[in-house]
Subunit: 242 residues, 2 copies
DNA sequence: TCATAGCAGAATGGATCCAATTTGACGTCT
DNA sequence: AGACGTCAAATTGGATCCATTCTGCTATGA
């Protein structure tokens, strides 16, 4: 923990993503500070940042609340991600890839090929493919040489992805997940091909559609959010309907 | 000043946009706090926010520095704005406009028509058109019903727009500005027509190209030989090449 | 019995205090 | 003369303290 401030921020992010802080739950500075063993100052900073990221919403004079993300919001964010990564792919195609960028993308594709070669996939492989996927997308963003895309995306990075990534892997239907990720991987191949050939419009179209692959489609939207407002603290059993 | 914290933030933003804090200049918490007559706490919060907005960059253990925005960065941000507003226009076309949205957009167009009807334009008119323009764009973003677009855009709101909007009006060539804004206004008409007819793809294409109208094109990039963008203000004679 | 006023508790926002770390300079040694 | 080590100044980061304000309950009066 070389940077305690950043540590508080990422810890809270993780607590939200993991569901330790449930959607709709109220969070206050003092209990959170005590819980994490730090002072109120870094917590205050972190709350502001998390509000910016869309993970918290401010209740005037009553602290913050973990935002509930609706299905529409997620699909809207996915669409935003689609056009931005589409733009990135187009600009990457127009700029041309450097040798190391091409190399990095090819490695991602090859490692993915190896993963899917067996015809089945384990839970562990999914984790590995996930990091592979992240790397591929990051490389395309870099290749666009447009930092504004990253900025615009960083807002959505946690809102849809923290929710979707935690949710989107259905470990009870690994065969179904296999097909979904295999399809996404094929889109990666197509996107790389288009970028490497300098086909900007095609690369854009592929990446734009590809964003939808981060969803499990209708399957995703079946969770009922709890509308009750609770304050986190030591007495969480005291959350009776009051 | 009901919200001093917000006040500090917007004051600093204004100081950067107006050039009172020059690009590349270092800013520290204590002098800034004394200058604004507040404590270090709100300044610290504001610096974090300004860093997020891309107006400041952090120097490790040495405070912050006002970022210099390159021409490439601005054109990249404009392109991001283009695809996002294009997406908004398409979704607005797909969703259909509500009666009041249609009414609001038509009012913007009519007021713009009145402004341009005389065939010439004064500096005052430019200010008015500017607010008109803002309203039009905001209405389209609202009509998209996709808050993620606004989120993604808010990051870019200050970086390119604070610079470009202040920059982009060349008060010495109002006739040229007239033609430029007239063209932009025609694009507004076209965009509204496409949205109102439910032509999503056409609306998207128009708004996407329209983003470039926020630039003075090549003219913009010929003023700063060092690639840095300067803000025109009251003391524009002090812009010696240094 | 219901409504209103007042009071206590709680929570944020800002100010100040303390600690840790880095920068830059100065002096000395090789 | 140059380089290295040490020291002081400055600056951020975290912790604590005080003021303000909002909420919710309670008590009293109609």
């Amino acid at each position: 923990m070389t940077k305690p401030g950043q540590h508080v921020l990422s810890t809270l992010r993780q607590m939200i993503a993991s569901g330790e802080l449930q959607a709709g739950e109220r969070v206050a500075e003092i209990p959170t500070a005590e819980r994490l063993g730090v002072s109120r100052t870094p917590v205050r900073i972190a709350f502001r940042a998390l509000e910016q990221e869309g993970l918290l919403e401010k209740l005037e004079r009553r602290g913050y609340r973990v935002r509930e993300v609706s299905a529409e919001e997620i699909s809207g964010a996915v669409e935003v991600r689609g056009v931005l990564e589409g733009l990135a792919a187009r600009q990457a195609a127009e700029n041309g890839l450097s040798d190391e960028q091409r190399q990095g993308l090819r490695e991602c594709l090859a490692q993915g090929d190896a993963l899917f070669a067996t015809g089945s996939i384990t839970e562990l492989d999914l984790e590995e493919y996930h990091s592979l996927n992240q790397r591929f997308h990051t490389l395309i963003l870099e290749a666009s040489k447009n930092p504004a895309i990253v900025s615009a995306l960083s807002r959505n990075e946690h809102l849809p992805f923290a929710s979707v990534n935690a949710l989107a892997i259905d470990r009870n239907h690994l065969d179904q997940e296999y097909r979904r990720f295999n399809f996404a991987h094929m889109q990666h191949h197509a996107a790389f091909d288009a970028i490497d050939c300098g086909q900007g419009a095609r690369a854009e179209a592929i990446m734009r559609e590809h964003a939808n692959a981060t969803l499990r489609y209708a399957d995703l939207f079946s969770q009922a959010p709890d509308n009750s407002i609770r304050v986190i603290g030591q007495d969480s059993e005291n959350k009776t309907g009051k």
